[in-house]
Symmetry: C2
């Protein structure tokens, strides 16, 4: 399939503002998506024009998208962060764009508190909080916080990674590039949702002492596991790869099981009791595979990075306070704005007032064309995030309007195997006002709460207008250079 | 949910014959299914009227459907047929209505040959064929053939069961009734598709010697596995339970894994090598769970049996030569007619001329409202059997026209969790001319070939007109009794 075939033409009619036209089309049976029309935000017209006229843009976007679609993803190892990233005591990685303790939300603070307890940097939540917040840990330095993305990885929700946590290592076999993600803890009271109670720390210890090493033995014995192939299959099995990962988790287990059973080098097998516990943990956690979808998507989106003139989004990430994006043409510069709060369905006992603003690196799934962009593949998601089956199909339909390509590897049976909309174009987002649709979990806004629900959210439009402004400035600079 | 809510109203417009009406509706955006219109077959008008006027019918159908929907299904044991059914050497069970060797199709003969070899009743295919066909086995009696359904079980494709084969035992916890099915061998050259080469017999031996006993230990250790709950889940994961059982197989494995790993009574675990082999076999066979969907559906459909006056279909089954049905109001009497040949997609090297007529007890899935009736849940099935995603949705939509209820336990996300059409009404089939849609595998017509493809098929209409005639006769007899 050639790139020109991948770059999708407008495939159904999007109307903006002119209701009579939409009504006419609807009466004729043409599928119509009504978009809340808004003119490009004030001040963006010149930027839109300059970027549209950037001579590099078409080819740059074609290159970026081609790289994004070509990236593979194989699980090649499972290792502690200490070893894989050289992370040292007191260093923490977190989701989203950079943030300091002072501006961190409840769940981000909760996760950092839990990580400090897990690492033995404090012996109570209060002391952990004091150390994290005031940098007055006796005899030590304060915490060192950096985004997961700055180290080539991703973390769901708070995304907090400390040296003793184990990570999946995923590699693109074509380029040799790698990305990583933490191991999924399950749902409810878990660190990534900001909980830090004793059960959270005990589970993290077991994951570091038992689960991680066991997965390491299995992966090393089994050899690379094709994560991209599992993602392709899960989209045929009702998962969208962000808020539904049920089939993906089972397929990962299927791939690893023989090696898990055969165990380490001697083939004598794991201890049956420990193995049964591990299998219960993994197979009882429908989101276990999310933590492999995410680094696979990081490899894909990251493949598009560093292409001057390209307006393709390469990162969308949230730290619970700010939403940040990066683009192919602007390197690792973040364009941030206050994160929206998701809307959706709540666990018993919680309501909208309990929800923290959007948090997590998991929007990398949408950045690479799955998750909310593949909702049409997962009509059952409506039970989790609200809405209807038709709404899920319409959402994917709408995302084609802001995407540059359709992914031939990730297809949607209900759309007769049309590829998922892939490669978000900043200019399309600003011009149409259509914002990327993200499926997400919702963390409690109070540190220590855990998950309160799941729902839908969009990035703030300002991320895209800022990115557009930066791209326009670079376009003007490039034109000036060419003219000299 | 009350029964009256379950009994579905007409939910979209079915037009028959009057094209202009359908065209008008289509222009107005009303979903329209065009049915090839045919008047009730000659001679059925009086039967339709007599059955429609049967005073028992509404209540009888309500009872039959209520029982069908209420039936549960738990995997409770795995045992050899010798032990579970008291099957003796020389006795064989087979799919579909009764048939003798003389009228048996190629795949049925091939499976019987293989079973005779597997049981050691002959030492070559030629001798097995001679013994099966001529009843001249020196010093012995000839083969004893009976339908699986006559012994309360089901077998896919040829459905041949011999004493040494292991069976799943499934129980309805409410009534205590049980049903059974053989273990699935995988795809390609397998006994149930009529293959009988050395690899087929070797695999059957391993299944009897290793897999069956291992599954028995796991099931006995794990306790009952809720098969109905897995079916409900798989319909949310792209499976329809007949030709797609991928998610179901993985979920079954998930349920059994801890017990499989912990092994027998001492908890010391299975031999890692043997266990890894078994897990590879099960998880590498996307149809393994079909053999649990089938007895679960047998329990549901069988729950409706034996209700005088009910026109609900309780069995649809094919032996490769004849298609046979049974109804709730007519006991275990078969209504048979020559089986159609499926149309669909073929494995490389095969074409329509290689396909045997419809074969197998697997149409019990459609009888209980999944399989072809749940195609809307499995748009990816189009890749296997042909057609489009919209066609899959339309098929399920059409089946509501001949079904008496919607199953609240088996829901279709793409239809906003509408229950699958359940409880085929003989009178609706005859009156509308809409035949049940069956998804199926296709066996090669020559004994020994194996699978040649997968596709779609319907029962012959004559099964339903015969059943209607018998129901009408019983209605008239009942009325005469009442009058006396």
């Amino acid at each position: 399939m050639s790139l020109s075939e991948l770059l999708s033409p407008v495939s159904h009619v999007v109307t903006a503002g002119v209701a009579a036209f939409a009504d006419d089309l609807g009466a004729q049976g043409v599928p119509v998506t009504r978009v809340d029309w808004r003119p490009p935000p004030a001040g963006t017209e010149a930027d839109l024009a300059d970027v549209a006229l950037d001579a590099r843009r078409d080819e740059a976007n074609a290159v970026a998208v081609r790289r994004m679609l070509a990236a593979g993803a194989e699980l090649v190892d499972v290792r502690p962060a200490r070893e894989m990233l050289g992370l040292e005591p007191g260093q923490f990685l977190h989701a989203g764009p950079p943030i300091a303790w002072e501006r961190a939300s409840g769940p981000m603070r909760g996760a950092l508190i839990g990580a400090a307890l897990f690492e033995g940097l404090a012996d109570s939540p209060e002391r952990a909080e004091s150390w994290l917040g005031k940098h007055d840990h006796s005899g030590g330095t304060g915490p060192d916080l950096a985004p997961c993305h700055s180290r080539g990885g991703v973390g769901p929700m708070a995304g907090v990674v400390s040296p003793s946590m184990w990570l999946f290592e995923v590699r693109d076999p074509g380029s040799g590039r790698t990305a990583w993600c933490s191991l999924n803890e399950g749902l409810g009271k878990v660190l990534r949702y900001g909980a830090f109670g004793p059960e959270v720390i005990t589970r993290l210890r077991w994951m570091a002492d038992v689960l991680g090493p066991m997965l390491q033995r299995a992966v090393r014995r089994a050899g690379p596991v094709d994560v991209k192939a599992i993602i392709a299959q899960m989209l045929h099995m009702g998962d969208e790869g962000h808020n539904r990962n049920r089939a993906g988790t089972l397929m990962l287990l299927r791939e690893l099981l023989p090696a898990l059973i055969e165990g380490g080098g001697d083939g004598d097998g794991e201890d049956p009791k420990a193995l049964a516990d591990a299998v219960r943990f993994v197979s009882g956690n429908d989101h276990f595979f999310l933590n492999l979808v995410m680094p696979a998507c990081k490899l894909a989106a990251g493949a598009a990075a560093g292409v001057p003139g390209s307006t393709v989004v390469t990162v969308m990430a949230r730290n619970g306070t700010d939403f940040g994006i990066q683009t192919a043409g602007t390197g690792d510069r973040w364009f941030t704005a206050p994160a929206h709060t998701p809307e959706g369905l709540f666990l018993a006992g919680y309501g909208p007032e309990d929800a923290n603003p959007d948090i997590g690196d998991s929007a990398i799934t949408e950045t690479a064309g799955v998750g909310g962009f593949a909702m049409a593949a997962a009509p059952a998601i409506a039970r989790l995030v609200g809405g209807t089956a038709a709404g899920a199909v319409a959402t994917t339909g709408l995302m084609y309007e802001i995407a540059l390509a359709e992914n031939p590897a990730f297809t949607v049976p209900a759309l007769d195997f049309r590829g998922t909309p892939t490669g978000i174009d900043v200019t399309r987002v600003v011009r149409t006002g259509v914002l990327p649709q993200i499926n997400t979990g919702m963390a409690g806004r109070v540190a220590g709460t855990g998950q309160v629900g799941a729902g839908l959210v969009t990035p703030p439009a300002e991320c895209f207008t800022q990115a557009l402004a930066a791209l326009a400035e670079l376009a003007r600079a490039d034109e000036a250079n060419e003219a000299n």
